[in-house]
């Protein structure tokens, strides 16, 4: 079974630029998560989708971050404009439903300079 795919693996941008991350979850998984992991901390949820609907985006900085999950499969997370404090690893995860364990992709390491 293929795992969660994310791209790109690494990205370096200047502050105030925009960036987009892509995620393809495990086939058949209804729930998709985007987490932000800052160095030395645990992953923090940004947004949770159930199929193509948003379940929880209470911790998403909506003035600069946006996410969508078209057709309930792939998802993109965008940051515009980026700030220095957005430097982190962005992890995508999926689960069969909202009550089972989540499986993570390898993450995208973003560096904002």
């Amino acid at each position: 079974e293929a795992g969660v795919a994310q791209s790109p693996r690494y990205k370096i941008i200047e502050k105030r630029q925009s960036v987009a991350f892509w995620c393809n979850p495990i086939s058949g998984h209804a729930t998709l998560y985007w987490y932000q992991q800052i160095l030395g901390q645990g992953p923090k949820l940004l947004i949770q989708f159930q199929n193509n609907g948003v379940v929880d985006d209470s911790q998403l900085p909506k003035d600069r971050f946006s996410a969508e999950r078209l057709k309930g499969v792939d998802s993109t997370l965008k940051i515009q404009p980026a700030k220095l404090e957005d430097s982190a690893v962005y992890l995508c995860a999926s689960s069969q439903d909202r009550r089972t364990e989540a499986f993570f992709g390898q993450g995208t390491r973003l560096t904002v300079v």
């Binding site: 998560y33 030395g40 645990g42 949770q48 929880d56 992890l91 992709g105 993450g107």
Partner: protein
């Protein structure tokens, strides 16, 4: 507000001995707990989970214990192997609501050959 805490940033254990990783939580609504293992430059990998209706769950060399009254769980690895060297994250969720997973800050385990 850190709802899941891992108070030991690091742990070193001799190969063949037991590794015990600890985790505390504050939210009494949490009823589903998971451990993830993370190698450098990779996403977290699901290891083992436990529901609040149990106090122990075992999978090979890995056993998770849950003490609901103390709001404490632990992961035991016996015997420890050098390949177990990684960062271990504890996560918790109010499963009944299908809500997000809350992660601790991680414990870096080093198994010395």
């Amino acid at each position: 507000d850190q709802q899941v805490k891992q108070n030991s940033p690091s742990l070193s254990v001799q190969e063949g001995r037991i590794s015990i990783l600890n985790c505390d939580y504050t939210n009494s609504m949490f009823d589903y707990f998971l451990w993830y293992k993370k190698y450098p430059a990779e996403g977290p990998t699901f290891l083992i989970s436990i529901s609040s209706i149990k106090d122990k769950n075992e999978d090979g060399r890995f056993t998770v214990f849950l003490n609901k009254s103390a709001k404490h769980l632990s992961l035991h690895i016996v015997p420890s192997q050098p390949g177990d060297s990684a960062v271990y994250f504890c996560a918790a969720s109010p499963r009944i609501t299908g809500n997000q997973f809350y992660f601790g800050t991680g414990t870096s385990l080093t198994v010395i050959p």
